[in-house]
Structures are given as structure tokens and as C-alpha cells.
Amino acid sequence: MPPSPDMTDVVPTGGAAPLGRLLTARAGAAGWLDRAVTEAGLRAPPFEEVRFSSAFSSAARRLGKGPVALTEEERRALGRDCIDWPLDGWGVDELGRAALLLEAFRALAPEPAAALLARCYARADNRERQAVLRSLPLLPDGRRFLALAVDACRSSVQTVFEAIACENPFPAREFADASFHQMVLKSMFNGVALRRIVGLERRRTPELARMATDYAAERRAAGRAVPADIDLVLSGTGTGTGTEP
């Protein structure tokens, strides 16, 4: 059973448009998305996957890796499009890659689009993986990628882990309790501030509180510090959810 809906459960309706608008407003990024979409055949078939991959992969060299640096007006506009979680940690390259991936989902049938995403992720470097993971909450029927998202939590590359665990509504929206709990524990273990986990408050359970209590005891027994924000999970007062499908 999926978690009960709330604001972050509403998949943004605008598809690729909000991200495309943000990207186009970035210095030096103006024509990039339009060119990439056209060259990959996403406007007029046939779809050219190698061209898509080239644009997706070279985005950092073409757009840079600087922070997206949103203006207040842009933040408000995103909120109106139901993107109510922070995009401030994204790089311009990640914004470009996410926007391009969303365009592919707009143009391709669901099955080929899903297969494209899987190949994109399998052959990705760290920053490309981050972009794919940040795109998940924006995709139509994103829960198809639950297994990929759960697997991403097993990454030992901190930035990849953070791309799914932090400032991303997907886990709270889609993960079953067991996966969500593991993600929260790994966040504590890796020094990630728990306030960065979107929707944590409504996914707290007695079981998660029990795990956090055990973790705190283990840290104390080893003479190590307990994360200062552990209180955020010690009270198991959220609604929780069911088991993984």
C-alpha cells in the first residue's frame, strides 16, 4: 500500500516545462535543451538514442556544474507547478539532464522511455546518476522506478546517495517502510542531516524509532557521538506505510 497522499504526492502536471523554463533562463544555457531535443529526434521521429546520450553526457561540459541559484520568483513559480521541494542543491548540468530526460518521457511511449532511463542510469557516471535520481519525482508513473531508487540508496558514493535521500520527495512517496527505514539509518550513519529527508515526519514509525534508539545505544557504547538531530525520528508518530509490492 502506498503512503497516503499529501502535497508532495501530487506529480507535477507541467511535465518538462517548468525545468525547461528554469534552464533556458540560465546564462549560456538558452538554446541547449531545444537543440538536444531536436537532434535526438524527440520532436520528429525517429528517436536517435546515441544523440540523446551524447547530449545527456556532455551536459556538464556545455552547461557547467555551477549551482542553479534560483531567484525568489522562480521558487514561487515552481511551487505553483507543485514542485515544492528545494532544487537548490542541483547543478545546472543536472537541471539540463533532468529536463532532457523529462522531454524524452513526454515524447516516447511509456515502455521505451522506461528502458531509456534504465540504460541511462546503468551507463552513468556519478553526476548523471544524480540527475536521473532527482528526476524521479517528476516522471509520469514514477513508481515504476522504485527498485532503481531503492538500489541507489545502496551507493557508496555520498553524492549519489544524497540525490535520492535528500531534497527528494520520491522515497517518502514510494518506498515501503523497510527501505525507507534503511535510508534514514544510512543518512544518520553518513552524517546527513535528517531535516533534508523530504516527508520524514509522516513516515516515522515505532519501528524506525526503535532502530534509531538502538543506533544511539550502539554509538554511546562505542564512545561515539549520537547525531544531534536523532530526535526527529525518535517519536514514531507518523502514519508509516505498508510493505513493498
Binding site: 553526457s57 556532455s58 561540459r61 546503468a122 557516471d125 549519489v160 550513519f189
Partner: protein
């Protein structure tokens, strides 16, 4: 002096090696895609191997303040497996635009078979299409002939010679390589290939123009500190600091930066901070993060 080791297979090395390399002044490395000591039998294994070069290994190196770049290619040994070769060549275009991919390599000859030549030529074409230099492995057996065939093939394909790094040179092959427009790499090894004293003699005789040294350290008996050790020997032998710096820093950046994938400014501030990334399954296991 900042050092660059432009040929080292870090997936086979430990964090102790990374620590020692950083302490010895190594700030940047290139990990060429090669074979792993035994043949792979599935195309998919390469997918995971390339992902490790582009992802996990880059992250591991960054925790020791070392910039990790890589080359992507089908090595000559595995080019002899027709099923594997076709699959890997077909997959390569998806990797050649990626960040930190600075060349096609290692390609070239091993047994000097027709299959190796075919894969070599196909990858020169990929390098041309994606505007990349190439890193060429030269064979252990029949080495001089293999080096000559390498240069002949580059010319036949009309690939720009200045974008070719012919690696693992020795006293016999170096004149052949330098007589072409190609750059000359030297792998300093504990027993085979080239050692520090011989390298000093080669630098004295040929200078440092188009010359590069590396450790080529891998899963065999090899030494990831051979670049700093050779620098020490060059100093003892009275080779000028400026020439040493050209050899172990400026030249690799100039060669691999020819088509704009890297530039000197990329390496201006090699910083080092493990604190961003600690514990869990990362390379630190509960130690205090170091900063420098």
C-alpha cells in the same frame, strides 16, 4: 611540485596507495580502461567496469585529493574475442562524451592479430568522431615491430599523429616513436618495461619534448610511486627542475588537453577534504576525516 601519473589502474590498488601517492605529491591521475588480468566473457561486464572507472573510482580518488580521469576503450587482448569486441565497440559512443573521459584507450596491439588491428582502426575512428586523443598500448612481445605497425596504422587511417600517445616505450622503440609526430610514454616498472635509471638516461639523451612517464601500476607487481621515485632520480642526476615539471605535469595536461577536455586551470587547486564524505561504506571506516 605537483605530479601527474597519466597511466595507473587504481581499481586494483588500495587506499594505502592513494594515501602514499597523495603524500608524494601526486594530484592527478588517468586510469586507462584495460583488461583485468583475466579475460572477461560478457559485454555487460564492461558496462560495470566503465561505470566503476567513471563513478566509484573517481569518488575514491577525490577523498585523497586526487583528480581521477579515465580513458575508455577496448584493449587489444580482449579485442581477440569477436563477440566481446563487437559489443564493446557498439557501446563505446555512449561513454566518450562523459566528463573526465580524456582519451580513447588503451588500444593497440598485443599479439598483433588481424582482430586487434580491426579494433584498433575502429577506435581511431571513434577518437576522430568524438575529438579525443588516443592512448596506445605497445606489445610486450615483438615490441619494436608492434610500435612500427602502430605508427603505420595511425598514418594509414590519417589520424593526427600529435593526438597519439604511444606507451611503454624502451630504448629500442623510443627513436621510432619520436621520429613520428606521436608522443612517447614510458612505464616505470619494478622489473620489466623501464626503470628509473634508464629513464634518466633517456631524458638526458632525448630531452622532455613529447615525453611522458607513468607507473602503469595495476594488479601485478608494480609500484604506484614510480613517478615520484623517478623524479627523485632525475633530481639526483642534475636534470633541471623546469624540465622535470614539464615531464611530470605540463606534458600530460598538454597531451590529454589537446581537444579541450582538460585544461591547466582544472588542476589549479587540488583540494582535499574527507569530511564531506565519511563513514558508511565510504573509504573511511570511522576515522576522523582529514583536511588539507
Amino acid at each position: 611540485m605537483k605530479l601527474f601519473d597519466p597511466h595507473i589502474h587504481m581499481t586494483s590498488r588500495t587506499t594505502d596507495d592513494y594515501k602514499a601517492m597523495a603524500a608524494a605529491g601526486i594530484r592527478a591521475i588517468i586510469e586507462p580502461a584495460f583488461w583485468l588480468g583475466q579475460p572477461r566473457t560478457h559485454v555487460g561486464t564492461f558496462e560495470d567496469y566503465f561505470a566503476a572507472l567513471l563513478g566509484w573510482e573517481r569518488f575514491r580518488a577525490s577523498q585523497f585529493g586526487i583528480t581521477h580521469l579515465c580513458t575508455i576503450g577496448l584493449n587489444p587482448k580482449e579485442a581477440n574475442d569477436p563477440h566481446l569486441a563487437a559489443g564493446v565497440l557498439e557501446m563505446m559512443p555512449r561513454y566518450l562524451e562523459k566528463d573526465g573521459v580524456v582519451a580513447v584507450g588503451e588500444i593497440g596491439f598485443d599479439d598483433q592479430t588481424p582482430a586487434e588491428e580491426k579494433a584498433f582502426a575502429a577506435q581511431l575512428e571513434l577518437a576522430r568522431r568524438f575529438e579525443l586523443p588516443v592512448l596506445v598500448h605497445t606489445p610486450h612481445r615483438d615490441k619494436k615491430r608492434g610500435t612500427e605497425r602502430t605508427i603505420a596504422l595511425v598514418r594509414e587511417q590519417r589520424f593526427p599523429e600529435e593526438r597519439v600517445l604511444v606507451d611503454h616505450n624502451n630504448e629500442e622503440t623510443l627513436p621510432v616513436t619520436l621520429a613520428s609526430g606521436c608522443w612517447a610514454g614510458h612505464s616505470i616498472y619494478p622489473d620489466t618495461k623501464m626503470d628509473e635509471a634508464r629513464m634518466v638516461a633517456l631524458v638526458k639523451k632525448y630531452g622532455v619534448e613529447r615525453m611522458i612517464i607513468n607507473s602503469a601500476a595495476d594488479w601485478g607487481v608494480s609500484d604506484p610511486l614510480k613517478v615520484p621515485k623517478t623524479v627523485a632520480e632525475m633530481r639526483k642526476a642534475g636534470i633541471r627542475e623546469r624540465d622535470i615539471e614539464t615531464l611530470v605535469w605540463d606534458n600530460p595536461i598538454a597531451f590529454f588537453g589537446q581537444t579541450g577536455r582538460i585544461a591547466p586551470a582544472d588542476f589549479a587547486d587540488a583540494h582535499y577534504d574527507q569530511s564531506q564524505l565519511f563513514e558508511g561504506n565510504s573509504v573511511l571506516r570511522g576515522q576522523a576525516p582529514e583536511r588539507r
